[in-house]
């Protein structure tokens, strides 16, 4: 009596094999790409025409030389400082509010009554990009860096709140349990067991978001929310290309400086 392979191994493969699925997904992707190019009336011919190429070359040529007069450079430096301040303050405010919202959003504290609405709020804050928040904030806070700061703070609160909530949920439960067993109140458990454990992680998330926010703050100004972006869109709008070039250079220098600093800081910390 030979025991053949169990019956379930010989079941016919279903209609949707991985190959069929991969093929249909690929077909759908191709259809999406074709439909996208077809439905957008892209002006390729206008872009590659001799006139527009000449215009583009002239446009690029106007960037040189960048305006390096002392007065304008000091203005750019001021705007750079403003950008940095916006990002720092926005991140700080976001870290505070993110922590406040992370507590009810985390599974460890409180019940679903608070958790569900808090999570919804965090998701909504996170889903709207900084630039959209900035143009909404312009209505309330008026033109200037405060609108940008608030916009950064709102979006980052959503991001950090979610990250913080996850960090709190993933903290080892033993110290909290030990305190609770000794009769400590929830606030004490949080202050003396949960927070000290997750503090380094919260700090590293905050620094990571700060890095992102510096980049975001430099462009938020194009809707009028202060910093380098506002200078950029102002001078670009007036077709003062030399000054635009200076602002662009400052922006690139800022981004590159942030990238290198974070690269070396990360390397130093992980070593």
């Amino acid at each position: 009596m030979s025991a053949g392979p169990p019956a379930f191994e010989r079941l016919p493969s279903g209609l949707i094999t991985p190959r069929v699925r991969a093929g249909s997904v690929l077909l759908a992707a191709i259809a999406l790409v074709v439909a996208s190019f077809w439905s957008l009336d892209l002006q390729w011919s206008a872009l590659w025409s001799r006139d527009s190429l000449a215009a583009m070359a002239r446009f690029a040529g106007e960037f040189f030389p960048p305006d390096t007069s002392a007065l304008f450079v000091s203005k750019v430096v001021q705007a750079t400082a403003e950008t940095l301040a916006m990002s720092a303050l926005g991140t700080l405010v976001a870290a505070l509010f993110g922590l406040l919202l992370a507590l009810p959003a985390a599974r460890t504290h409180g019940g679903a009554l608070w958790r569900v609405p808090t999570r919804l709020l965090l998701n909504a804050l996170r889903a709207v990009p900084e630039l959209v928040w900035a143009s909404l904030m312009l209505i309330t806070a008026g033109l200037g860096p405060m609108a940008g700061t608030l916009a950064l703070a709102l979006h980052t609160t959503g991001v950090l709140g979610r990250l913080f909530a996850e960090a709190i949920e993933n903290a080892p439960p033993a110290p909290a349990f030990a305190l609770r067993a000794q009769g400590a109140r929830p606030a004490q458990v949080l202050l003396y067991a949960t927070l000290p454990q997750v503090a380094p992680q919260l700090l590293s998330y905050t620094l990571y978001r700060w890095e992102n926010n510096i980049r975001a703050a430099s462009i938020l100004g194009v809707v009028g929310a202060g910093g380098l972006g506002q200078l950029l869109s102002y001078h670009l709008g007036l077709f003062q290309m030399g000054r635009t070039a200076t602002v662009l250079l400052a922006m690139l220098a800022l981004v590159l400086a942030v990238d290198t600093t974070s690269y070396f800081a990360r390397r130093a910390m992980t070593r």
Binding site: A35, Q43, W44, A88, L89, A124, S135, Q182, G183
Partner: protein
């Protein structure tokens, strides 16, 4: 220490720790001594106070530089404008004409993102191939030649340059050259994302097992053959997964690009905001959140298929 009857601890529960530690029954005086004992005081209070002062001093210039005066938002005129705008949010604009416009612009947003990522792929694939050191023939025998090395570094530098300029700045510049409309959005996403995708593609290719590739190259295979049969089979899932993730990001950024006139939902939202039409803004914000959520889940599902 005398306590009224109702404040006296029950024998099974202590007023200070909520459990049955027994302190209350033994000696209230002992308890008070314990509360005031130096062990109960924060041993690091000096350090904490110093840090608090230092951060307050550091915070001050930030508040000045960002003109952070939240109370300015609370004066009556500002409040009136805000209240009026927010009151307009309810009910969201739902008339058929407007919904048709929103649907068209939403599709355009997706289309700009998709076309942009396609362009970025066309840019990134050759750049990544050029930049990947694993496909170097000269480095099979010792060090890489000078010309190949310089070419690879040049490709890398080009990708860094493309990536460093934010897409919004590219869009601003292209709007000046080709005029308002989706073309500048597609070009902006194509260039920035081309740099990003190229860099990450090169990193993924460098990170995969070099052995099959080197064997193919050493046996006389061309670089493209070595890539197709040695590198690509290992790296394909990761490359696809990253591209899908970037597509998801491109949808988000194509909304933002609309604010500088690059077409799509953002441009529509910008004009509604300028007219302070709260109900239209509300509808578009809801649609946008839904779109991001859809893109998010589609990308998560697709990347799940690859695993």
């Amino acid at each position: 220490m005398w306590l009224p009857r109702w404040r006296r601890a029950k024998p099974w529960q202590c007023r200070w720790c909520g459990a049955s530690c027994g302190v209350m029954e033994t000696d209230p005086g002992l308890l008070m001594a314990a509360v005031r004992s130096p062990y109960q005081r924060d041993p690091a209070w000096r350090g904490r106070l110093a840090w608090l002062l230092v951060s307050a001093v550091l915070l001050w210039p930030l508040l000045v530089l960002t003109e952070f005066r939240p109370w300015r938002m609370l004066d009556s005129r500002s409040l009136q404008v805000t209240a009026h705008f927010l009151a307009g949010f309810l009910p969201p604009a739902l008339d058929a004409d407007f919904l048709r416009v929103v649907a068209r612009e939403t599709w355009r947003t997706v289309a700009i993102a998709t076309a942009g990522v396609t362009l970025a792929l066309l840019l990134a694939a050759p750049l990544a191939l050029v930049a990947t050191a694993a496909l170097s023939i000269s480095s099979l025998s010792g060090r890489m030649g000078v010309v190949p090395f310089v070419t690879r570094q040049a490709a890398r530098a080009l990708m860094v340059a493309l990536r460093t300029v934010p897409e919004l700045v590219w869009a601003l510049v292209f709007v000046r050259v080709v005029g308002l409309g989706p073309t500048s959005g597609v070009l902006a996403i194509g260039l920035t994302y081309g740099g990003m995708l190229g860099k990450v593609f090169a990193e993924i290719l460098e990170g995969s097992d070099e052995h099959p590739t080197r064997t193919l190259l050493a046996n006389g295979g061309g670089r493209l053959q070595a890539f197709l049969y040695g590198l690509l089979p290992q790296a394909a899932p990761e490359l696809t997964s990253y591209t899908i993730y970037r597509w998801e990001c491109a949808i988000r950024s194509s909304v933002v690009l609309g604010f500088v006139g690059a077409g799509g939902l953002g441009q529509q939202m910008d004009s509604s905001l300028k007219m302070l039409a709260g109900n239209e803004v509300a509808t578009m914000l809801l649609v946008f959140i839904g779109l991001v959520w859809l893109a998010d889940s589609a990308s998560a599902w697709l990347r799940g298929l690859l695993r």
